[in-house]
């Protein structure tokens, strides 16, 4: 039994370590935060150092959805469809005040936080956020991914039949 526990812990660490340094972000850029995203992903601040550099412009090949900018009610079906197209495992980052809470837009058009339609793992406040905040958020998300449990279960529990 002790052998099994030891083996399980090793697998958690291994899978977490592999996953946390191979984040493939999908930047869903809708507004001015996109400028900040470009700054943080290019050479000066360089998210490549964290293994989160290569943006995949299709949700099917990415596992980190970065919602960068204001999401309107008209756009909500689009972001929901994008999220549903991503394969597991997937994480969502709300980048900036608008994606987090609607920001200063309290009106008929703007969704008051993207977490009303899709689950969000990490929020970055700021209008726009400083690059340091984005890097901090990526590192916090990586810590969380590394700390996830991956227990070895019987096949039926590991692959539940849905529907």
């Amino acid at each position: 039994m002790a052998m099994m526990d030891f083996l399980t812990t090793r697998k958690d660490e291994l899978v977490g370590w592999v996953r946390k340094f191979s984040l493939f972000p999908y930047p869903f850029v809708t507004a001015c935060c996109g400028m900040e995203f470009m700054a943080v992903s290019s050479t000066l601040y360089d998210t490549d150092r964290f293994g989160a550099a290569l943006p995949r412009f299709t949700p099917r090949q990415s596992d980190l959805l970065m919602v960068v900018g204001t999401i309107t009610h008209k756009e909500a079906p689009v972001i929901k469809r994008v999220y549903e197209q991503m394969c597991e495992p997937k994480w969502v980052m709300a980048f900036g005040a608008c994606a987090t809470s609607g920001g200063f837009y309290r009106n008929y058009a703007v969704l008051q936080g993207v977490d009303r339609v899709i689950p969000v793992d990490i929020y970055i406040p700021g209008c726009p956020p400083r690059p340091e905040m984005v890097i901090d958020a990526i590192m916090k998300l990586q810590d969380r991914i590394a700390g996830e449990r991956h227990p070895i279960l019987p096949f039926e529990e590991q692959n539940p039949v849905k529907g």
Binding site: H73, K74, A76, P77, K80, R106, N107, Y108, A109, L111, Q112, D115, R116, V117, I118, P119
Partner: protein, 156 residues
């Protein structure tokens, strides 16, 4: 000077005129709008239709101002027109026959203020979505009213 020509030639079509920071403003009744704009575009060289929008004055009768802006690229002058329409019948003639660009801008003014442009056959929403109730830029639209088209998640 184009402004002097407008003021003398179109005297019987507008009611009031004044200068607003160097731009001539004409206020006119709604039935004179189309004849006046026709002469602006055909005789006076106003070849660019810049914008149509509206202003809501709650409590005033008539409630809405419909505001037009024109520009003449030959003489480099702008012109603003103001037409008052009541809430009960907020309709003005469409200018799509004179300026093709009026199609989109009239759609925007229609969805935001509920102004009806008679003669524009395509008044679908352009910035809003199908199924949106009401006119969000009217002053009596609640400021925090939301009309989501995706159902919100339950656990928040």
């Amino acid at each position: 000077m184009i402004y002097a020509t407008i003021l003398s030639n179109l005297k019987d079509l507008y009611e009031r005129s004044w200068d607003s920071f160097g731009t001539l403003v004409l206020e006119l009744p709604v039935e004179n709008l189309y004849p006046l704009v026709e002469r602006l575009s055909e005789e006076l060289g106003f070849d660019l239709f810049l914008d149509v929008t509206a202003v809501d004055y709650p409590g005033r009768e008539p409630r809405f101002d419909v505001v037009y802006h024109f520009y003449g690229s030959g003489h480099n002058r702008r012109l603003r027109l103001k037409v008052q329409v009541p809430e009960a019948d907020p309709s003005v003639p469409s200018l799509t026959g004179l300026y093709g660009s009026a199609r989109y801008m009239e759609r925007e003014a229609h969805e935001m203020y509920g102004i009806r442009f008679t003669g524009n056959d395509d008044l679908r929403p352009i910035l809003l979505y199908e199924g949106f109730e009401g006119h969000p830029l009217r002053k009596d639209y609640p400021i925090d009213m939301e009309q989501p088209i995706v159902e919100y998640r339950e656990a928040r």
